[in-house]
């Protein structure tokens, strides 16, 4: 697992992907911070984290699109899958390397609370809660992206597919409202709302860090990593 983790992490920063990902993120978010916090004179980070949740949906696929797709393309998957390292450790190694890049990003954003602490006062609970929530959501998105990437050798397809999956899951609870109004039994609607990301997003962005939301995101992460490993196993039988 460590070998795959180290190689993938290095690959992010020997290719342009890591820099593009961090650069794009930091540029957009810092602009927001400048406008709303610096110029707007606000010490609350909730609005920027709210914005970050939306940006994450669109930028996480860039981070994960190459994870397996590039291996298929270069045929290096043959090396990985015929090595004595088992599938679970390969998948986890890759997951943690993507997560590490995301954590790099979070570390860079620590500049915000630091800036605010220099001129005002942070709401510690708010800052900690937002970081915990966003880390959990990030893990869920990364695992979805990795899953989609394990299905195709085309990186563009992987990126667009991951975006589609994330947005679909995000908007799931609006489905009954617009398409099957009244036609679905109540428990289906409740189930859709339970699975949908939207309500949980808004909980976290409103500053409500509930344990069940965190558990939900970690479960999504676990489910998609499991599906990835199973899917890779199944490829052998194709």
């Amino acid at each position: 697992m460590l070998a795959v983790f180290k190689r993938d992490l290095k690959a992010y920063f020997t290719s342009a992907i890591g820099y593009i990902y961090l650069g794009a993120y930091i540029f957009v978010l810092n602009l927001w911070f400048y406008i709303f916090n610096a110029l707007g004179g606000s010490s609350s980070l909730t609005s920027i984290f709210d914005f970050m949740l939306i940006v994450m949906m669109f930028i996480t696929p860039i981070l994960t699109m190459r994870v397996f797709s590039e291996e298929y393309k270069q045929k290096t998957d043959q090396l990985l899958f015929t090595s004595p390292a088992g599938l679970p450790s390969i998948v986890l190694g890759k997951f943690f390397s993507s997560l590490a890049v995301f954590v790099c990003l979070l570390l860079l954003t620590l500049l915000w609370p630091l800036t605010i602490s220099a001129v005002g006062e942070n709401n510690i609970a708010e800052v900690v809660g937002n970081y915990a929530g966003i880390l959990a959501i990030g893990m869920a998105y990364i695992s979805m992206g990795i899953f989609i990437s394990s299905l195709t050798e085309n990186q563009v397809v992987a990126a667009v597919g991951s975006l589609g999956l994330i947005v679909a899951l995000f908007l799931l609870e609006f489905l009954p409202m617009y398409f099957f109004s009244g036609a679905l039994p109540a428990f289906v609607i409740r189930a859709l709302r339970f699975v949908s990301l939207y309500a949980r997003h808004s909980n976290i962005s409103r500053g409500l860090l509930a344990l069940d939301d965190i558990v939900y995101f970690l479960s999504v992460c676990a489910v998609f990593l499991f599906l990835t490993a199973r899917g890779l196993e199944k490829r052998r039988w194709a």
Binding site: L2, A3, V4, K6, R7, K10, A11, T14, S15, Q74, K75, T76, D77, Q78, L79, L80, F81, T82, S83, P84, A85, G86, R236, W237
Partner: protein, 312 residues
């Protein structure tokens, strides 16, 4: 060392390979011959655990690849048809990665990798980026990767493709040297390679094994009749008639005029008869000097045609 029994794999409706069985004792170098699409790569991918079989089992050193894949894979070094290289890494980084990936237990990573680089002639390009290397060097990096961890079984899918003639000889020597202590399967469609390196040949066509023998015997059984190419000074018609009349010549096909005033023929002799002496006497008697006479050995194409014809 390698036990393959009843291996079957289908792709959709077409059969990739059909009921393949063979067993290879420790320390043998086996050539895996077959035309493109015959099932060589599929078989190798199954042995290494990259693909799974529809039916049948593969055992490496007594360990079932499907049941205990991790243990079985520790015994295998695999060079796939396209070497699995990360083009943006240097040779050094790549081999270090493979070493860690395979979880090699021995001490002395540097010494182990340096030894492999020495064997495969990579020491000069050790610090260069793989993507910038020539095809021959990439192939060597692929071979080096298979050798990391000192596996007892090597599966090499067309290891000499893309190498220049000198490198081919070098790599063959490396393979022979390694074969003294290891079991090796190498696939190829180059016949001289098999006779140069292998002790045994498996010929596969249309997903089934059509021959399993020593290379010399294989070449012999196929070309039961010897074939000779001959160049004679003289008119085509006259020489042709003369040759067809010689005892021990089954047929003489004209090949055309390669040199002014001469004609070339392909002679097939009757099985078990050496036609060279009677041909010489007949032509000498008629006053047609022989400018060239050489045996034409069975080529791989002939073997395939023969073996697959027999199979159908």
């Amino acid at each position: 060392m390698i036990e393959v029994s009843g291996l079957t794999k289908s792709y959709g409706k077409s059969r990739g390979i059909d009921n393949i069985s063979f067993s290879i004792p420790e320390g043998q170098i086996v050539g895996f011959l077959g035309p493109n699409g015959a099932g060589k790569t599929t078989t190798m991918n199954i042995i290494t655990g990259y693909l799974s079989a529809g039916a049948g089992t593969v055992k490496i050193a007594g360990i079932d690849v499907l049941e205990r894949p991790i243990e079985a894979k520790r015994h295998i070094g695999y060079l796939p048809e396209q070497p699995p290289l990360y083009l943006s890494m240097t040779v050094e980084e790549y081999l270090d990665f493979v070493y860690e990936l395979k979880g090699v237990k021995s001490t002395g990573q540097q010494a182990h990798i340096a030894q492999i680089c020495d064997m495969t002639g990579l020491s000069d390009v050790y610090r260069r980026v793989i993507g910038h290397l020539s095809k021959g060097y990439k192939q060597r990096v692929g071979l080096a990767q298979a050798l990391v961890g000192d596996p007892d079984v090597l599966i090499l899918d067309e290891p000499t493709v893309g190498l220049d003639p000198r490198q081919i000889v070098e790599i063959r020597n490396v393979i022979k040297e390694m074969g003294q202590s290891r079991t090796i399967i190498l696939s190829t469609h180059i016949l001289p390679e098999v006779s140069a390196v292998c002790e045994r040949v498996l010929v596969i066509a249309n997903g089934v094994i059509v021959a399993d023998d020593k290379p010399e015997t294989l070449a012999g059984t196929v070309s039961g009749e010897r074939r000779l190419v001959i160049r004679v000074a003289g008119p085509k018609d006259g020489v042709g008639r003369l040759l067809n009349g010689v005892d021990g010549v089954r047929s003489a096909k004209p090949l055309g005029e390669m040199e002014p005033g001469s004609c070339d023929f392909l002679i097939e002799s009757t099985p078990g008869v050496d036609a060279r002496k009677p041909v010489f006497s007949a032509l000498a008697g008629a006053g047609h000097p022989i400018l060239m006479l050489r045996p034409q050995d069975a080529t791989l194409e002939d073997i395939f045609l023969k073996l697959t014809e027999e199979g159908t």
